[in-house]
């Protein structure tokens, strides 16, 4: 396992410096909230990132929030991102 699953544990500490592309992150942590740091951007003026380090991964955004907060307090750029599908506001899928 690359990053800590902190669903029932104290705040995460990064245990791997492997940078993954967004596609790799989605494959490794499907339908989860991943906390990303150390973004790699080919163009510093463009917010889109090529790769990042996964600090931790969680089932809900609420569970990911303390790790984001801790990383931001340390001056790191950090954010949580959902690896699954985003649902448009006008409907929700009830039966897949």
């Amino acid at each position: 396992m690359l990053a800590n699953d902190t669903r029932n544990s104290p705040p995460a500490t990064k245990n791997a410096d492997e940078r993954l592309t967004w596609d790799q992150i989605c494959q490794r942590y499907p339908d989860e909230w991943v906390v990303l740091v150390e973004f790699e951007r080919p163009d510093p003026d463009d917010l889109a990132f090529d790769a990042a380090v996964v600090l931790s991964h969680h089932k809900t955004s609420k569970a990911a929030s303390p790790d984001v907060k801790a990383a931001l307090k340390h001056g790191q750029e950090a954010g949580s991102f959902f690896t699954g599908q985003l649902i448009p506001p006008l409907y929700e899928i009830v039966v897949p």
Binding site: F39, L47, S61, K62, V68, K73, G79, G84, L86, I87
Partner: protein, 134 residues
């Protein structure tokens, strides 16, 4: 003219944004949905909380009416906000929860978009944005 790319096959126009915290230089990247039908730019309170913002520092408490009743939110100014290739300072956002099942953390509304001329090229997956000085 700045060009931002999005995935044309997605159901929504999803772009990268960034918001800065109040008491430190921390900034948080996030995915936002471009919504030309929204008046305000919405960011979920959880993200603003991560950056050290507090509803007590807000400009106003808000309510949003929906089929299931009224939900509370608040308006707050963030020192800096970036999206679609442009940064704006002292920008007012609407802190309001969105249904968790949507997995959406915010919407870019007209409060941001109206500062620019923009062209959404859906088939190409590009938004071309230009700031016009008047």
């Amino acid at each position: 003219m700045k060009v931002t790319r999005f995935q044309p096959e997605d159901d929504l126009i999803i772009v990268d944004g960034r918001v800065w915290g109040s008491g430190h230089h921390a900034n948080r990247p996030l995915k936002l949905v471009v919504d030309t039908g929204a008046v305000e730019t919405i960011i979920v309170p959880e993200i603003l909380d991560e950056l050290g913002f507090n509803p007590r520092n807000g400009e106003a408490i808000t309510t949003m009416r929906s089929a299931v009743g009224c939900e509370l939110g608040y308006l707050i100014r963030v020192p800096q906000f970036e999206c679609l290739g442009y940064q704006v300072r002292d920008f007012r956002v609407h802190a309001h929860d969105l249904p968790e099942s949507w997995n959406i953390r915010g919407l870019i509304g007209l409060s941001f978009l109206r500062q620019f001329n923009y062209e959404v090229r859906s088939l190409e997956g590009r938004i071309c944005v230009e700031r016009v000085r008047v």
